[in-house]
Symmetry: D2
Subunit: 431 residues, 4 copies
């Protein structure tokens, strides 16, 4: 297996921080013990956590106004895998990559899978792309893809999704994520119901092509690129469609795809209750689909999402396994740094949610002790589990401080000289 960050460098880095980490870990362990909690169990839990990274996330993102390219951006899927491997080597929390087609379409899928294996990476859900026109594409998606009025356009979009499934099989993936930007910019542009009927027709064809052990994830989004009406705009529509399609169809929750003020953790609870929670695209946002780093804007909300996941896991048992994935746009940071940091933030929320004594909470709720019920969650959220996360990384072979170790490694400088700057913005996705 290939290692891109020198193991000795990581070891040295960890050695330098060891004394301090041990002291912090012991201090935290004592505080937790005084609350009746075992730090070792939590560290073991942290070590088992994993979240997938998006292949397109390792390139610098942009807005409709501009993209300010970073240094050493990956030029193809192989270079993207390298960057993803670095993230996993240092965090030990991101063992899978989610590819996007046709951006990441390999000439030889076996070779790509071999490369990933060699880097210790697996492939998570594959993503189709019918929100852009590709060169030499026969039918435009300007007026929709899976919902287009034109049956030829719909057939082309369906075919692309089925090809994605095929590619995914070769890469060892088990799920297809379908996000379409289809919708309308004007009242009247299309028939709102007709568009969803066509969507369901198209999705039925895609669903029929799913292997038995696969899922298809329906991703909803309030707006952008459609600005008046988006066909799959909310969890209600996503849920109704997933129900209509069948048991392999589930709903994917992207934290940035909701109306202002929406209680997202309640949507998580609803989908879990009705058996349709497929997975997540983690990121953070303040306004719209801002695709900011996970936990950077509203970390308590991220905790509350994991609080619902912990509740669902308790109810559903080991069968409850939603897919976790980061989906962010890194416009002003080094994408590798942001993804490492974001993986840790998601892991943090996961560990914090595990701090809640659910039996005790249920009793407080049962007796309508509102204040102490609320405090039970706040206390878990307030607990700074950083030493647990660092210790989990060190024990799993990662870095105590991933960003510092990454900077010390000189990786970015190295790839900056090996990968000349791209002229345009086309090859790095910006979902």
């Amino acid at each position: 297996m290939t290692t891109l960050i020198d193991a000795g460098l990581v070891a040295d880095h960890n050695a330098q921080l060891a004394t301090r980490l041990e002291a912090d870990y012991e201090a935290l362990g004592g505080m937790l013990a005084r609350r009746g909690q075992d730090i070792e169990a939590l560290t073991a839990l942290a070590q088992r956590f994993a979240v997938a990274v998006p292949s397109w996330g390792v390139g610098t993102g942009g807005t409709r106004f501009a993209r300010f390219a970073g240094r050493g951006e990956p030029r193809n899927v192989f270079e993207k895998l390298d960057d993803c491997a670095v993230i996993n080597e240092l965090t030990r929390a991101t063992p899978a990559v989610s590819p996007h087609f046709p951006w990441d379409r390999p000439t030889d899928a076996k070779e790509l899978r071999q490369k990933a294996d060699d880097l210790g990476l697996a492939f998570d859900a594959v993503n189709s792309n019918t929100f852009q026109d590709q060169q030499n594409q026969e039918h435009t998606y300007k007026y929709g893809s899976l919902t287009a009025n034109s049956s030829a356009t719909r057939a082309q979009a369906v075919k692309h999704n089925i090809e994605c499934i095929e590619l995914g099989r070769e890469l060892g993936s088990k799920a297809l994520t379908v996000w379409v930007g289809d919708g309308a910019n004007f009242p009247g542009q299309h028939n709102l119901r007709g568009a969803l009927e066509r969507y369901l027709d198209s999705m039925r064809e895609i669903y029929a092509a799913l292997p038995d052990d696969w899922n298809v994830f329906i991703e909803h989004k309030l707006f952008e690129p459609a600005f008046y009406a988006t066909t799959i705009a909310d969890w209600g529509t996503s849920f109704a469609c997933a129900t209509a399609l069948g048991p392999k169809a589930k709903c994917l929750v992207d934290l940035g795809h909701h109306a202002p003020n929406t209680n997202i953790e309640m949507i998580v609870a609803r989908l879990a209750q009705f058996g349709k929670l497929g997975g997540f695209h983690f990121n953070d946002s303040k306004y719209g689909d801002d695709d900011l780093d996970s936990g950077s804007i509203n970390p308590f909300q991220l905790f509350l999402v994991f609080n619902e996941l912990a509740d669902a896991a308790l109810r559903e048992g080991p069968a409850f396994k939603p897919a976790y994935m980061l989906d962010q746009s890194h416009n002003v940071t080094d994408p590798v740094e942001s993804l490492m940091n974001s993986a840790v933030e998601v892991q943090r929320a996961y560990v914090q949610a595990a701090l809640v004594d659910r039996a005790q909470l249920a009793e407080l709720q049962e007796s309508n002790d509102v204040l102490l019920s609320a405090q039970a969650l706040k206390q878990a959220f307030r607990t700074d589990v950083s030493p647990i996360l660092a210790m989990a990384r060190v024990r799993s072979g990662g870095a105590a401080d991933p960003v510092a170790c990454y900077r010390a490694s000189g990786y970015r400088d190295k790839v900056a000289s090996a990968r000349p700057a791209k002229a345009g913005a086309s090859s790095s996705g910006i979902v």
Copy 2:
């Protein structure tokens, strides 16, 4: 049949406006004819339109900060019916009243039904109230009603709903609208999923008590009175519950109960498509559940809702009959005036939506002629159908200008002297 506004006064009023109305009607008729449309058919359509008024709407509403009582507010359900009758006499568009229990609970339901018959009024959906504690109520709803942790509280709330059905049967109603404010003000206050499970359990008991030809309408609302998580917060939850309960359960859309920026007409299209559109609470809003007069803030949105209803009616045929009701809080206007005016605004949107040539629109949409598709809706909305609405009223026995005629009638002065001002705010609902 009793008439509260003197028929001679209405006739005089209409006679004074007749020349102008005839001229405007003819002018509009000519313009429509040049577009290939028949004004007489539209006037006949307007005459068939009806929207129910809420019994509680004839009292002055308020906010948590204050209620500024109006003159001559009705003190009981009989006086409320009088005010509702005036609205219908002058608009001829509001032949039914939606009562709210226990506010409107009669000592003798037969007497109340007789009173309504005598005024030419019927009873629309009945509304239960488990968002307030009534005097001498055994269990408080402070921590929830249908979702309460306490089984005794839930049983009390279920029993009240079943009593509402019983009362409704005696009054000739065919539907129960269930809105609960249940929810949480703090993360952790209750278990989000547990609360919905208890809601469904409670609703199953209520559903079981429904007569065969009744519907139950589930009304969702984003927030208020619960400020962190409302159990029935969005159409997705409402739809999932209505599906779980059975065919008699449908969803009710209140225009003010959605997150900012929500595309409400698309929710209407979705519920119609999936067979779960029960009805509407019409009002308008800019911020939250502002309960402003229908069409006063965003009249184009109201038109777009009726555009979806016209599309659904075309697809579903005469079986498609959602319930239309006003639900507003009149804080600074005479409630009778606001309700008359609002009934006309809803009727206006209904008639405007009928102006759309749906076959032509479908062709424009099919050919992706986005600009002309959008213009097809805008042209219908732009058409000032006021002469049609006035003529429809006159032909049905109403007033050409309901507000002017009402003012001329002196009705408010008359009831102001007959109905002494109330001391508190308790007897007029403010949903």
Copy 3:
């Protein structure tokens, strides 16, 4: 003077519609006369209305996900002027063009001004661009322009703005519009106050370079491209800066640049009251800065904005002359059609606002007759002034139905063959 749409074709088009237009105009005139209003005065008013078009608006816009190019897109500022001229020839409402630098930087400003003169066009406010990096630019704007930490970057941005003023002088412009995307994607990325201090320092230098008879317009925007904190995010900041800079600095209101639920017409009233209303970027939106066609989503809001402008004009007299400009992104329509249609929609709101009898409204308001006060505005808005707008165009030499006439002219086909499709997305702005 050059005409791009054959005058004979326009005449024929108008002749074909003349009988119908005359009849509709007469019908409307009668209705208005019965309300005491003179249609001829309104038509004359409509003829005096003008709104500038943005040079970048004639190209197809896009989102961060994709741009679906249209046919015959202009490749340079001269071709853009041609398209703008067509818009004005058919609507007679858009005699000025607002250029954007460096996109529209001419090699010879005199030649460009001559070209515009020849097409009957003038130049409105010039726009600077420091939200993108240009090829061979010395300092990147990735971390800000007028607010950048780097003094060299700030100096470069200031210098560009001063060059824009110079170019504007040569083109006959009288104002500079400054919109910067500067801000932060993360809490902590920059010092919120420090950024505004640097902004003010930079703007003071630009302000000092303004000719005596020029204005600088400060354009605020809530978010995008910055997703956590935008330095000039709201009208309060814009107002405070314009006040700090001096009398030549004013605020520009883009209808899509506000937080959800914001009452935009009240901002217009505030800026007018405090003497800082510089002008508008008209468009419409449902979610964020959607840049949809003016009046397509919430036409009543557009009317209410003009209602405030009419109130301010009455108070301030002829000195009150805010700049009117369209600023839209046409992603799925022919930009020329959308701009023609949008100019008409803005003109429509202007004429409708003139229908309000302000003396009568003031009396109703004074007596707290809330319902009739509201109805006074609604009646004006409801009035379909389309025949007035069509007649104004015909009398001024435009087309009765600009879109139909444009389609009949074959202009788009003609330019599609003359202007080969562009490969990338870079040369058409997407503000």
Copy 4:
């Protein structure tokens, strides 16, 4: 000085928790020392923190739908002071009370001040109330107070504010907070500019009555009770008015009074920069003016507000002293518990903000190290300073765990028997 919670009980409570607190404090002290920070300095800082409590906050709040009274609610201002004293005795962070008139109008101001002195309490800003009609009030505020069309109504409202200043002087207060609900529910209801002109006229009279060492705080709010247009709706209007009035007028920021998605900490930075930051009403919210407990919904936002305050304090020095006050509505909790807990949450944010190394942060920002700049804030926020807050309380004479100690004291039971339940909702404010 009177003590309402037995000192012995507090001492016993603290003794029971002492071992654990000492251990946690030492553990945290070690962690901070390893980061170069001194826990003792932070504890001393925490001891100096103070936030005022609102007199109306000790009663149970409600919504327009219902108020579910709690046990032992205070029936008058003296009983309110008792409850406020308990909060301060146990938290040692709330030494002042903000009274609301006429709710808290004493028959003898000296007696009230003496009572407060005796309880160790002072009086913070006084609040006027012109959003409700009081019994026997001559002119109604239904259509506005300081902005009313009626000059008599405006004079009455001005007079009430001046009386509040008088009362405040007698009580030792130094500021008047003016919040008016004035606005419109309909477009057209009033002239938007005229309303603000009348507001300024009224405020000028109030301003003129201010003692030399007083401030007047203008409190803005987006909506409720006015639902279309609120006269003082945003910080821009508040700022423009405070500027027009003079140096004693400043702006008050209530965290729940903004449009969705608003960056509140940036408003804090702006007002600080322009010298107009008067103070705060702390609470939390998810939808509108939800008045939830501080820090219960978005604790990171509260931290970011204090991060700006720390930045401003560094720049401005000791002269920078904005007023801190809680303003919450406790609908489902014991108000005393919620206020104790909320005071601690605000104090927590204050201490966390002090953890930021501002010199180091400035360097990171200067070098555009976005990721580490963001991490600098996140690390401070993540630090669980609970042991510091508890130690500060113990050292100042308060309780290690205020809620537990309060429950142990039996205070609520005691007042529940002494204070019979109120029939209505009128006497406990619900701002």
